[in-house]
Symmetry: C2
């Protein structure tokens, strides 16, 4: 097995395709060498060697010879020798995994220096101070990274030295000063380790390689992998690279740059740069770097060279690059390149611009954008008009930005209280030391979540991320006093009920109500989605219950409504909110009716309201289909459970309060999710069906007569049997056809069913003999197939998803469809449904309709459309296009393997 | 199409195989004619003609000619003519469907009489009184049956006549008297119908045929079909048969008889008989009939003939027969034969005896017994030692016997009260005007149910039948006063809380507590089940949680335990009931523990109890496998919800009561069925698994060391994923293997899973890679597959099952497995599980394991065993044998069509 890949002098054994083997950094160095960019020589030890080392606690046998051989090759190339007393070769040993884990693993620089070679370096560079500075940096780094001596102790010695020397900056320390510090470091090393600081460069090299490999197992790296779902057994590569120095004088320097602006995406050369400095100085933030434009002035030649590199790299990699470089005595060296991270907005702009520049194809542009980019594009953010001075003034504490977005609400310190406040219509932010499964109720109602402890993989972070809810965790300076219901930080106190604002993009917590805005979509977003529309096969509809939502969804590009929930209309009048109470009373009268006759009377009061709502929705969706679902929730949800409210209701209707209470207790169910709801209500109370179908068909007739194009699709929920749907469908048609006949219009409508119970999926072939369409209700189908109540799963599902705990599922099945399990039923239902009715229309209206991987699955199994909430319509449009592109690559569609592709 | 089948003079066009076409009666008459028994001539109009008539509201065109032709043939055979003035032919027109519907449809006798032919009959029989009696009977019957005149009015005229004549019995009325009555009837007919009573025998005949056909649609017939699940479109046949008369003198008579005693099954000739009487007199109960043995004395010749018929018929039909006969002037006529209804106990005895007599094979004997027969065999009954006089004295009211068995309890008049009383440990009988879905809770806890209204298909009857719970409905004399909480009947009053006893076998309600017994099994029962054991392939285990249940089940023939629920052990100490509280406290401490350490401490207290229980169970099942399921219910079920009890618990444990209350509210779930239960508890609290596995393996080791043969099968409930089971299985093996290693015994055990979620069934192949056995938990699998909460479905499931309402399902899916839906998942899981593990052991432990049709399904899909509650073990043994017999007939086994066979 080949464990090492050499690069140098324009040739490289590796390529950019070898990320898995060489890590991002190693692959980048090899590729840059290949295409003729100035890269210091070196070699990369593969991730396989690391995996072997971690597994077997020793190196592969062949590795020793290979390192010796490649080191000799590097020495030959550079005409220097490691540890040489005259002109020594210095190397860095750098970590680098296949998937970027910035700052999570270790690196050792200036390796090869010892008491002799430091003199050689001083002689060769004619700069003793530089040489001893390099040596002390190496001793310091080696001691902490390879031998785990406490960083603070060494830093303290440096501080003490500077104090003795009465200087402020490191740059003011002379060669003599560094020699003193080196002696102190070495003494400290001997005291702690019992041996001398290693002078043998070979020992140094193997120590550094081992430390880099070990750092894969470091605590922070492990946590990062859990959060980013990076496999634990991949391992890191280690690149041994000739050192170049940006701190050898005024014609040296170092910097990082992006080929385009990573926040706006604009095609400008963007970066920072320090003269006479090492890379670590940029990172440490000791000196303020210059803008890259300044480099043009101070180092015009190197800048020009860098400009050429920029162009060449973008052309070569066909993506925006994030690069590190060093200029040593006027000579430019590229140390790293990788695809640059960018803001959601920049993601769109760069993708669209690059198509314009013919760098990439439309299909590639569509693949460059991830569904999360769309989501993040529209997260609320702090209004940019808010003055920075105001923000500085309001800054209360900072924590880790676990979930982006921003949130404003009143600080509440217990989950139960949060639920109570929210029930009163208050906006709350839940503040906890840390959250536990018992807090999910309060977390759910909160605008945002703030915790004092815990990292990005804590319970709070995992749960909030699932909901896309702004969350800041581990605000360590926060002192919460649960008894007093206050929190303190940096000398200020926030009491229960006082407003605070969270900025999840950077982890800042502000006192008071800071203005938020929902960002405007950039031009490129619209362009890219238009391209997506041309590519995709799946239609994208929306879940909307009101004319307002319907209009919003149309703006988002929805091509119809896939789910209009009629029961929300029982609660609220969106046009005339003051009439909401009237609606509520009518539905309550219906439920409390003593017989079918009274039930009909109450329903007759409700019908005009529903008709009006339907007219608004049909108008908003002029020309597009509208799927209307009949009443779904159990009736008890419509009647108050508190004695006071029951008394008020009884008084209004004019019946004894006991009757209300008795009805509530009759309607009690131990598992309402599996109870008397969905079409079971229409089976037992067909009057409800009559009213609802009447309202929607009358509305459709009214619209049709006024020239609005309507295509109602009447949907029965929770069907589990063909005969059940037959009964419902027949009654639906009787009611509808009578109205249409009486109105003498030509109106077409179809009648179908949700598939949201395993039995319905299993018997899809029979059911499709009656149903004209299927709409998968994947929320309930997931609940029943997995035996998992969505409302209750918060108690244990995080344990199931967290890889450090059980790690049974990769995703929350309520966010991303459980393709392995629920997916089987969906595929089965579509295939068997279409056996009975080849042109069966099939869609999805669960929340998975707005989730990228789930939408792609819907495409693969041959659905006709997905339906998503208005703000997720764009995600669905993009994912649907990406599904087509993936399919083209694989060259198959649908069929038996639909569930296997991800 | 042939609409009529003739029989007479030893020849018949029909056979006994033509039940569907000729009805039971028509087929029986044809077959008896064929085999040379004395049967009056006649012809049967088919059920197809009836179905045509009912559908098209007219007769098939060919029918008129066919009736004329067959009537002519009958006239030729009898040498008499219908309506003849000299020697008229009289016929009966009798209904008779394929499936017996006794008393539900109409019959017209003595047809062919009119003002002229009655004189002919008088002359021919030389008995004017007899002739006019026959005529008045005909006029009365024709008026009510064919023309729907009110029966009571005609009866009233008869009463008035007898009063005028000052006689008591009909037999005392003279020919003159009958003539007067006939004149009155005819006048009344004309007054009501506006036309004369029909004198034309053809008109009479067609009127009668139409009335018989129409009676299929009569209200009582329709209701009966719903209750008995007889298809609505089958229709009845109509047999036109020459009249013979048992009332022509002392050498005439009529009777009904059984070839064996229908209550004991003993091989004795059994029946009742009346001299000089018509069949309707037997039914009407006007005269007390004689025992058949008396007939030997009074009509030795006819009796001998009848004895020969008895032997011939049993040999021919190879089953016990129920026959009707008439002796006319010393000549025996057979009017009907059919397989006789018999008591459960007789069913066994007859089947076994007939094998001994080589009349039938063992396989046939096994098929003769239905699972319900076993169940009914063991229903509690009134202790036969109770004196009839006592019962007469206690008789309070009678109703319809909707569900057999007997029940004793305190009368309670509301479902809620019933629940409260039952919660206090009282035995209650729920008494209601009628029950509604809201009453199911109270019905469930009641020993029996009594309603004042409603028939055998009322809500109460349907629900109670489902539970096999004694139920009497429609006790019309009952006056219930809900406000006073009393009921009155026949001058007596029963108050709330007073004891009553229901006898569901005959519908009697008694005051007070009457002694009940569970009947002893007859010898034949044991014989037949031994035969079943030889035939069946499926093993039969039991669901048992205590040593007591385990021993009982062994007596019932169980071959191991298929489901031992460990959580019941948390509540109750069956050996030392006074230690139950100790157990409860330990589990409560476990749940209230603040951390894993305290949880372990509490569990340690529980472990010795569980170990002791397991030892008892293993001993009872020496040599047989025992499947033990780990904790399944959600934890909240173990902590009290009432504040008072919470306070007591808090005091006992020594924690603040708020902590108990808080924990209860933390544990609250909106859908506990889909919540934190089953193996999810072991995933989140592995300490519980450790304790339970420890207890069962320590118990097994202990038994093994004492020479008891143990085969523990450790079962994880509610598994939905392979990885989940992997985690559980690994931990189980760690705990178990350590104990076995330490004990230095050789103990084999296996680890498997329940398949009770659709996802587990869908992913059975993967799961079988880890599971060593599958046990289908069909209760929960039904709940999740159908989205149907068993506890809540009482509100609408009756509507789904009732054919007069939605009629969506044929059976309650919680009683008889939903083969069409849930069955798909089961078959899929077995087939795919065995792909991964060909020798995968598969069983069922839901309550369907004791249901006949479900057990047969389990056989067809290739399960290894079923597990049933102890009292249903015998049902499973029988059904398993019947499944083999059915399979032999069809000549296939398992495979793709398993779900189609019923």
């Amino acid at each position: 097995m080949k464990y090492i890949y050499f690069f140098g002098a324009g040739k490289a054994e590796g390529t950019s395709a070898m990320r898995e083997l060489l890590g991002g950094k190693g692959a980048g160095l090899a590729e840059m060498t290949r295409i003729g960019l100035p890269v210091p020589g070196g070699f990369t030890i593969t991730t396989h060697a690391c995996a072997y080392y971690l597994k077997n606690k020793k190196y592969p046998r062949e590795l020793h010879a290979a390192v010796a051989q490649n080191l000799a090759r590097l020495e030959k190339l550079t005409r220097r020798k490691l540890g040489d007393a005259e002109n020594p070769l210095l190397v860095s040993v750098r970590s680098g995994a296949a998937r970027s884990m910035p700052g999570m693993m270790e690196t050792v620089l200036n390796l090869g220096l010892n008491d002799k070679s430091v003199e050689g370096l001083a002689g060769a560079t004619r700069n003793e101070r530089f040489a001893y500075d390099a040596y002390r940096r190496f001793v310091q780094m080696y001691s902490t990274v390879v031998n785990a001596l406490p960083k603070d102790d060494l830093e303290e010695k440096l501080r003490a030295l500077k104090a003795r020397l009465k200087v402020k900056d490191d740059t003011q320390v002379t060669a003599h000063g560094w020699k003193q510090l080196i002696a102190e470091y070495k003494a400290y090393y001997k005291q702690k380790k019992g041996t001398e600081f290693p002078q043998d460069p070979q020992e140094q090299l193997w120590g550094a390689i081992g430390a880099v490999f070990q750092s894969w197992r470091g605590e922070k790296a492990q946590k990062y992998r859990v959060a980013e779902k990076i496999p634990d057994d991949a391992g890191t590569a280690a690149s041994v690279v000739q050192m170049v120095f940006g701190n050898t004088g005024e014609d040296s320097g170092t910097g990082v740059c992006f080929t385009r602006d990573p926040s706006t995406g604009e095609k400008v050369f963007f970066g920072e740069f320090l003269v006479n400095a090492q890379g670590e100085d940029v990172v440490a933030g000791i000196r303020t770097p210059l803008q890259l434009t300044e480099m043009k002035r101070v180092m015009p030649h190197s800048y020009k060279q860098l400009e050429q590199v920029r162009t060449k790299l973008e052309k070569h990699f066909r993506d925006m690059q994030d690069m590190e470089f060093t200029v040593e005595n006027g000579k430019l060296y590229m140390l790293q390149t990788r695809n640059g991270k960018r803001s959601p907005s920049a993601t769109f702009r760069i993708a669209v611009d690059m198509v314009g520049e013919k760098l990439i194809t439309v299909e590639e542009a569509l693949e460059r954008v991830k569904p999360e980019d769309i989501e993040r594009l529209f997260y609320p953010v702090i209004d940019p008009k808010v003055q920075p001075s105001e923000l500085r003034h309001r800054l209360f504490v900072t924590g880790n930005n676990a979930v982006p977005g921003a949130a404003v609400g009143k600080a509440i310190f217990s989950a139960h209280e949060a639920e109570d406040w929210a029930a009163r219509g208050e906006k709350v932010v839940l503040v906890r030391h840390e959250t536990s499964p018992e807090d999910v109720g309060g977390m759910y109602v909160a605008q945002g979540i703030l915790t004092a402890t815990g990292g990005k993989t804590s319970h709070a972070a995992v749960v909030a991320r699932g909901w896309g809810k702004c969350c800041i965790v581990g605000a360590e300076n926060l002192e919460i006093d649960l008894a007093a219901k206050t929190m303190k930080a940096n000398g200020r106190t926030v009491r229960e009920g006082e407003w605070i604002t969270l900025d999840g993009s950077d982890g800042s917590v502000y006192t008071g109500e800071v203005g938020l805005i929902r960002p405007e979509a950039p031009q490129a977003y619209a362009t890219l989605l238009k391209w997506a529309d041309k590519v995709r096969r799946l239609r994208v509809r929306t879940n909307a219950d009101t004319p307002q939502d319907a209009r919003l969804a149309r703006e988002m590009g929805a091509e119809g409504i896939g789910l209009c929930r009629t029961e929300h209309m029982f609660f609220k009048d969106f046009e005339f909110p003051e009439r909401s109470a009237e609606r509520q009373l009518a539905i309550q009268e219906m439920i409390l009716a003593r017989n079918a006759e009274d039930r009909k009377k109450a329903l007759n009061k409700l019908q005009p309201f529903q008709r009006r709502d339907f007219i608004g929705i049909f108008e908003a969706m002029d020309g597009f289909p509208v799927t209307i679902r009949l009443i779904d929730p159990p009736l008890h949800e419509f009647i108050p459970h508190e004695p006071k409210k029951q008394a008020a209701l009884a008084a209004k209707i004019g019946i004894p309060v006991e009757e209300v209470a008795q009805r509530v207790s009759q309607l009690y169910e131990s598992n309402p999710m599996l109870g008397h709801r969905g079409c079971r209500l229409s089976i037992t109370y067909p009057e409800i069906l009559d009213m609802q179908v009447g309202a929607m068909i009358e509305a459709a007739v009214d619209c049709k007569q006024r020239g609005v194009q309507v295509s109602p699709e009447i949907m029965h929920p929770l069907v589990m049997d063909k005969k059940e749907l037959q009964i419902l469908s027949q009654r639906t048609r009787e009611v509808a056809d009578r109205i249409i006949r009486d109105a003498k219009v030509k109106l077409e409508y179809i009648v179908g069913t949700m598939i949201e119970l395993p039995r319905a999926a299993l018997l899809a072939r029979e059911i499709a003999e009656v149903a004209e369409f299927f709409s998968f209700g994947t929320n309930d189908l997931t609940q029943t197939t997995m035996g998992l109540s969505r409302d209750d799963a918060g108690r244990f599902l995080p344990v199931y998803i967290d890889e450090r705990q059980a790690g049974i599922f990769q995703f929350d099945p309520f966010q991303t469809l459980d393709i392995a399990g629920v997916g089987i039923l969906i595929e089965w239902a579509i295939v068997s449904g279409r056996k009975a009715r080849p042109k069966l229309k099939v869609g999805i209206c669960g929340e998975h309709g707005g989730d990228g991987p789930s939408v792609k699955f819907c495409h693969r199994v041959g659905m006709d459309y997905v339906s998503a909430s208005p703000f997720r319509v764009a995600i669905a449009r993009l994912a649907a296009a990406q599904a087509v592109i993936e399919e083209r690559k694989i060259g198959t569609r649908g069929g038996k393997n639909a569930r296997r592709q991800k």
